[in-house]
């Protein structure tokens, strides 16, 4: 009986959290269109987030491209379908693996960073200090960060995909002696706008989710300095879960459009 109550309580607190997050998202849209624009801070955040994640995304993308090709090669070879490798790699990377892996990396890197930064600003009263100095901290700290993650993630995904495909090419070049031109011709032949557009649109939503959850967890951080760690940690966990939900919804919607 006790465990049933615990499950109900957990479910209630989950729903409460979702409700608060929705309210927070609503406030973001309300504040985003108000002046002042805080454009300078938005650019600073874009540079900071892009710069901070670039190397990690590049290394991860390169390794994924290498590993993915190395792992798939023997199976394709068995069926005499190695020539399909560039098409398979490009479609799977661009449609799914690139966006979700890059988003998960950024959730860990950027989302936790935002959660910890805003959390520590909250517990050391820096957010209150902004408020009393007449600056809207929500606009200055939250809106700029959410916009920055929303616009930077597609760029990072594009960059990660490019490096991953290059990694895949290296394997094919070494193992199959495939030329750069031939490999990339096959990559671009296989891709259609139907692969690129839904994948790009969903990365905007991924970026929005990373910024939103990171800011939400940090902005309402409680329980002193221990709460800062908790904010950073729960930002990553909550965002990762949300990313898979968004991914599922995006794939589901894309599938409906394909059927039409």
């Amino acid at each position: 009986m006790n465990s049933i109550f615990k499950i109900i309580e957990l479910f209630k607190s989950f729903l409460l959290e979702v409700g608060e997050l929705s309210y927070f998202a609503g406030r973001f849209f309300k504040e985003a269109f108000k002046s002042p624009s805080e454009f300078k801070e938005f650019l600073r955040q874009c540079f900071y987030m892009g710069n901070r994640s670039l190397l990690l995304v590049a290394v991860t993308g390169f390794i994924i491209g290498l590993v993915f090709t190395l792992q798939s090669r023997p199976t394709l070879q068995e069926f005499g379908a190695v020539s399909w490798m560039p098409s398979m790699v490009s479609i799977s990377l661009i449609r799914e693996i690139g966006p979700i892996i890059t988003a998960l990396i950024c959730a860990g890197r950027i989302g936790s960073g935002i959660g910890a930064e805003l959390g520590s600003m909250r517990v050391t009263e820096q957010i209150d200090a902004m408020e009393v100095s007449g600056t809207n901290p929500f606009k200055y700290l939250v809106v700029t960060r959410i916009l920055a993650t929303t616009f930077m993630l597609p760029i990072l995904v594009f960059f990660g995909d490019t490096i991953a495909i290059f990694g895949s090419f290296l394997v094919e070049n070494i193992k199959g002696n495939v030329s750069f031109l031939l490999y990339y011709n096959q990559v671009f032949d296989a891709l259609e706008f139907g692969d690129l557009i839904p994948a790009t649109i969903k990365t905007f939503f991924f970026g929005f989710a990373i910024g939103l959850v990171g800011c939400f967890k940090g902005y309402y951080c409680k329980k002193g300095t221990a709460g800062v760690g908790l904010a950073a940690n729960s930002a990553v966990v909550f965002t990762s879960m949300l990313l898979f939900i968004i991914d599922f919804v995006a794939v589901f919607i894309t599938d409906i459009f394909y059927d039409l």
């Binding site: 050391t124 009263e125 209150d128 200090a129 902004m130 009393v132 100095s133």
Partner: protein
Amino acid sequence: MNTSTPNQKAIIEIKDLKKSYGDNHVLDGFNMVLNEGENLVIMGKSGSGKSVMIKCLIGLEEHDSGTVVIMGKDISELNREELDDLRTEVGFLFQGSALYDSMTVRENLEFPLRRHKKKFGKITDTTPLVMEALENVGLAHTINLMPEELSGGMKRRIALARTLILQPKIILYDEPTTGLDPITAKEILLLMMSIQKKYNTSAIIITHDVDCARMISNRMILLVDGINYIEGTFEELSLSTDPKVQAFFK
């Protein structure tokens, strides 16, 4: 002891202020008046609601009932923009200094200026204002340092400079000497007194430091059980025979 004589014109009035967190009634009908040019010390035990009261006063916390009138304006009737305008007249020194740790001292001081064109006009060069504020606290040489490079006392003085840069008429001090050694604490108190003299500011000082209260107060209020338990000068309160009052002065 502070010997300056304040006017009898009320600059802040709080009437029947109530604030609860669930069943915990932190403020239960608190009343207070701050007169122009006055240093009002509010003392109370830890957790007695002093900081909550000061946060309700500046609109950082929403009060449940009662009125807070600052310079003739009821803060609960103001919209966001009007409240921000009013906040330029009210400085707030936080207990932990609350310097923005990703910004240099200069940027910390420039930050409040960015939203107040109405008060200062368009500022093309902030350097004279920043330097004046830093010189007031004797730390002009720290202009390009980061907060992490400053000591606790220096941080508190920079925070005071940041408060002063908006040239407020009222300053709210939340535990200005807490966490500082006695010498630095005394320096901060002398600084607060010299600022009051120079700019003719009024101040509310939240503290449980008796020495601080003795040095700086024109008048004191003891906050007990969410109400203003007793009011008077430092001498009057220190001579009180009430055990609850005496507990603070032992």
